[in-house]
Amino acid sequence: MEIQTLSRARRLLLLYCSFFRITALVVGGGLAMLPVIEEIFVNKYKLLTREELLDMTALTQTVPGIIAINSAVYIGMKIGGVPGALAAAAGAVTPPFTVILIIASFFPHLNPKNRYLLGVFAGIRAAVTGMILVTGCRMFRRTVKTKLEYAVVFIFFLLAIMKVSPALLILAAVPFGWCYVWWQTRRLSQAEQASDSEKNEPSAKTNSETTGNGGDGK
């Protein structure tokens, strides 16, 4: 399909319909959308390369906002500029908005009396608990590395339990992050200066290793 030659309006329509389809079909949202996005935009229409998609994945997780809409906005932007971003976001919003609106207008208060329906809700809640726990642990392992970081996460957690507003915690984390990065880079540069004399030790080690390997090769 020659997408590059499509008129502007058709391109926007394509973005709208693609994201409509993605959010209408994918349950779970966010990162679950990625394989489908790859299928449609990389394999089928060839509007994005796999590298661009990877860059986008990293990007959508660094900027604030829900991942699904972030992805829609960035892909729309890439393919159709600002109108493209709007079309993609509108497409992503339409199906869940409609579905939830229908459910909400029939059950304005989700307080079912039926025993089995209550069981269904309880079952899903328990599964979601497990999913969030696994996601949280994966995130923990990716981001928290040093002892200081462990301590900071623990303190934030305690503050959250003590009913400090989560919004306040995130805002407080920003200046903390600046101090932390500043302290880290300063320590690193100091360590570099200090280790100029000690540098011989690790380099000597690698030297001996490489010569050792070379000897084996011969």
């Binding site: 900027v63 989700l110 949280g136 920003v174």
Partner: protein, 202 residues
């Protein structure tokens, strides 16, 4: 109408603060709508998240639409959804080009580092909120548990207990998620069926 505008800006705030995906919305939403404004009870919020999980679409958007509807009806849900999207579009359109260039600057690096640590902590907090709705029968009574620090026996509130069905389903989900590559949908459907069946016993 005024309420819709308030709702819009509330969700703008959530959107800007939501680092690390839709689950981050859980602590933000409970703090605002369950604890402060009390338009939703904790169990309603739990059911709402269950519905958001099993219906198609991103969890954040589903929740926003529903909370908006509960607050202010049809226009409320429009205001809440728009509130969640508009900041993303503004940030996206201005940052899509620039962020790769700014990524290594001190200000962006520090902000990302700090917010990521806070996000991890808040997602763990979201887990404890969910524990209170599934593994335990009630919200975890942190005030009572504070007695543990004074080496006293905590006085647990009436009706606070472990829920066997919740523990079972939660545990099986974790194992399946770590060990297999089953899609989320399958896990959720299985859990829903298991919940209905187990409700006959517990």
């Amino acid at each position: 109408m005024n309420h819709c505008i308030v709702l819009f800006f509330q969700f703008c705030k959530f959107s800007v603060l939501c680092f690390g995906g839709g689950y981050m919305l859980i602590p933000l939403l409970t703090a605002e709508f369950v604890d402060r404004e009390q338009v939703l009870t904790m169990s309603e919020f739990g059911n709402l998240l269950s519905v958001a999980q099993v219906t198609p679409g991103p969890v954040g958007l589903n929740t926003a639409t529903y909370v908006g509807y509960v607050n202010e009806g049809f226009f409320g849900s429009i205001a809440a959804s728009l509130g969640l999207i508009v900041p993303t579009i503004l940030i996206g359109c201005s940052a899509a080009a620039g962020i790769n260039r700014w990524k290594e600057t001190f200000l962006v690096k520090g902000m990302l580092k700090g917010t990521r640590l806070a996000a991890v902590a808040l997602i763990m907090f979201a887990v404890t909120i969910f524990f209170g709705m599934s593994v335990f029968t009630q919200t975890i009574p942190w005030e009572a548990l504070g007695a543990l620090f004074k080496l006293e026996r905590p006085v647990l509130p009436e009706g606070f207990a472990l829920s066997p069905a919740g523990i079972l389903i939660c545990g099986v989900t974790i194992v399946l998620m770590v060990k297999t590559k089953l899609p989320t949908t399958a896990l959720l459907l299985g859990a829903a069926a298991a919940g209905a069946i187990l409700s006959a016993w517990f």
